[in-house]
């Protein structure tokens, strides 16, 4: 009988589920892709159902369910926060406690009742789930693991040592001293949404200069051994409103209202905050055992600019979903590989894990979705296959690309992408204004043939999941002008023949057409919506986003046929 382990992350943001059968991932999917609610934090009912359906089993057949964090220490931390912020926390207390009182305070029984599970129910620690995902999906036999996020139960930053004997904690920093919270209060101060728009701060940082370095040092002073403190007076917890305190406004100047024009001061604040975050991470890195590679996870590991600086110091592995959704995969790994270790021999990690872990759809399902949406589809192979798509891209068409299984994680990596020609800088504005409806300062990423990356990027190495932002060689910037950020960098995705075979073929065809081995690759969605999952979502998004064409498996749908 195969052994099924289900990992679940839920109730904060980015709920997800992952099912392992004998240690191999059957399916992993974020709830938002199925519920169509961005960053959906609800119990991942649809994601769990999709996992069980993919394995052909029922909830009662699951041997072990692993929840991604310990519920009671988290409640304890929330209670302490509410108490310390009395009486401002009244609303948060009533809302939070009401949720617990619906039975979730005893999550084991709640899961048995709600999910129908009959097997063992386990609770991993939040940072252990992150660390397990990062280490078990890495190619390393031994590694130091750094987890940094807003907060889990109590830990906000933790260092682990991982090897054939398992994963053990070494040291940690506790709430509210947190790099994630530091970045979040700056995000709030700059008028962006916390837990959602942090990457906008990173994008904005490239436009500024480090004129707020002293202020950032007051907010996040460093201490010995790589540690840091987040000064309490700049933090405003417990309320529903913004997390930045009046003291922060006094230090950095008036906060930017959401939607207000962005000034030089805002760019400089973003720049200095990014610089401080990078310094903090580099200081921690300097305290790690020098002979070990580094695996990194937690929401802070989504910061590609910081990752690139760490990768210059030592071999770095960041998984494709370092945030909370990926912790569902980590929780499943904890249940399978670590629970009761060393009884289970740890897996060999020679093959690279693929992020294409989500649902896939048949050609018939694609055709049916087109028909239902009233779209006229033509078989792509009759038009010349992917070389025809490359030709269309070279002519400046912006194309929706739906191929095979959906990616897990925040990046579109060739399964659910919008592709465009990177040579024309105007493409960036067209994409921003017409399709994505997002701020003009935000850059787009290039997907590039892995073997050509060193020709275009300084210090290039395989980064198949867009986890690092690297400098583009000055002489090559014009070739991929639409993908180069104002500071001459780009969030590179290298594409090897095994990463995304069809996208690899398309890139080769595009290179044959244009001499440039890269295309713009951005997620297949419009602002405020999750990345598309099903052919129906793709058809709907194609209609709404004003794309020039859609590739739906082997179908070609031209914009004129909408």
């Amino acid at each position: 009988m195969p052994c099924h382990v289900l990992g679940i992350s839920a109730f904060y943001h980015d709920s997800a589920a992952c099912l392992l059968r004998d240690g191999e991932i059957v399916l992993a999917v974020e709830e938002e892709r199925l519920s169509r609610i961005k960053h959906d934090h609800a119990y991942p009912e649809r994601a769990i159902a999709a996992c069980l359906a993919a394995a052909g089993i029922t909830a009662a057949d699951v041997d072990t369910v692993v929840f991604y964090e310990k519920t009671l220490p988290k409640l304890e931390r929330q209670l302490e926060t509410w108490i310390l912020t009395f009486p401002r926390s009244l609303g948060a207390f009533v809302r939070g406690m009401s949720r617990y009182l619906d039975g979730r305070i005893d999550l084991r029984r709640w899961l048995e009742r709600r999910g129908g599970f009959r097997g063992e129910i386990l609770f991993s620690e939040h940072h252990l789930s992150h660390a397990a995902f990062a280490f078990f999906s890495s190619p390393y036999e031994r590694a130091a693991v750094l987890v940094a996020d807003g907060v889990g139960e109590w830990a906000t930053t933790s260092v682990w040592l991982a090897g054939p004997d398992g994963i053990v904690p070494e040291r940690e920093i506790l709430f509210p001293d947190s790099l994630g919270l530091f970045y979040s209060i700056i995000t709030a101060h700059l008028g962006f949404r916390v837990n959602e728009d942090e990457y906008k701060v990173m994008g904005l940082a490239a436009y500024g200069k480090d004129s707020f370095g002293g202020e950032m040092a007051s907010i996040l002073p460093f201490c010995e051994g790589g540690g840091f403190v987040l000064k309490r007076r700049y933090l405003r917890l417990g309320g529903r409103e913004r997390m930045a305190s009046p003291a922060l406004d006094a230090l950095l100047g008036p906060p930017r209202a959401p939607g207000a024009p962005i000034e030089d001061r805002h760019r400089d604040i973003a720049h200095s905050a990014q610089a401080r975050l990078e310094q903090a991470l580099l200081r921690i890195e300097a305290t790690l055992p020098p002979d070990l590679p580094l695996c990194m996870a937690g929401g802070v590991a989504l910061n590609g600019a910081a990752n690139a600086r760490l990768a210059r110091r030592r071999p770095l592995f960041v998984p494709f979903a370092p945030g909370d959704s990926g912790a569902a995969i980590g929780a499943a790994y904890v249940g399978h590989w670590l629970a009761g270790s060393p009884a289970t021999p740890l897996p060999a990690r020679s093959a690279r894990i693929s992020p294409r872990l989500g649902p896939s759809f048949s050609a018939d399902a694609c055709a049916a979705a087109c028909a239902a949406a009233g779209l006229r589809a033509r078989p792509l192979h009759e038009l010349g296959g992917d070389p025809f798509v490359a030709e269309q891209l070279a002519r400046g068409r912006i194309i929706g690309w739906f191929d095979g299984a959906m990616e897990f994680g925040p990046r579109a990596l060739g399964g659910r992408s919008i592709l465009a020609d990177p040579r024309d800088p105007a493409v960036r504005d067209t994409l921003n204004a017409r399709v994505k409806h997002r701020e003009p300062f935000r850059p787009f990423a290039p997907a590039m043939l892995e073997q050509r990356a060193t020709d275009y990027f300084e210090g290039a190495h395989p980064v198949p999941w867009m986890t690092e932002i690297l400098p583009v060689r000055p002489e090559r910037r014009a070739d991929i002008a639409a993908a180069v950020h104002v500071d001459g960098t780009a969030r590179l995705q290298t594409v090897g023949p095994h990463d995304a075979p069809r996208l690899h073929g398309l890139l080769r065809a595009f290179e044959a057409c244009t001499g440039v081995p890269a295309v713009i690759n951005t997620s297949f969605n419009v602002a405020g919506e999750p990345i598309v999952c099903s052919p129906e979502d793709a058809c709907r998004c194609f209609r709404a986003a004003g794309l020039d064409a859609l590739v739906l498996g082997d179908l070609w749908i031209a914009g004129a046929d909408r």
Binding site: T71, F93, M97, S158, L174, G227, F228, V229, A339
Partner: protein
């Protein structure tokens, strides 16, 4: 003396009956009423209990900043993983 012993017993019986009646009414009440009741109870708890804990927490010694060592090789032991804490 006999009378004074009987009085609290009768009173407690009355309180028990009244509580049972109240609970029965709550059980029969609509979802909205029960939600409102929970809300009210939470507000009462918040206003009466939390300030004392807040005071205690503020008086408590602050922990030292930065990293703290954590030796916990049993973190993945099955018995530990079974616990929600």
């Amino acid at each position: 003396m006999e009378g004074s012993c009987k009085l609290p017993a009768v009173a407690s019986q009355r309180v028990k009956l009244r509580l049972a009646g109240l609970l029965a009414r709550v059980r029969r009440a609509s979802d909205a009423v029960r939600r409102a009741l929970v809300l009210a109870l939470l507000v009462v708890v918040y206003a009466l209990v939390l300030p004392w804990f807040a005071l205690a927490l503020r008086l408590r010694a602050r922990r030292s900043p930065g990293f703290r060592a954590r030796q916990d090789p049993a973190i993945t032991a099955l018995e530990r993983l079974r616990l929600p804490h």
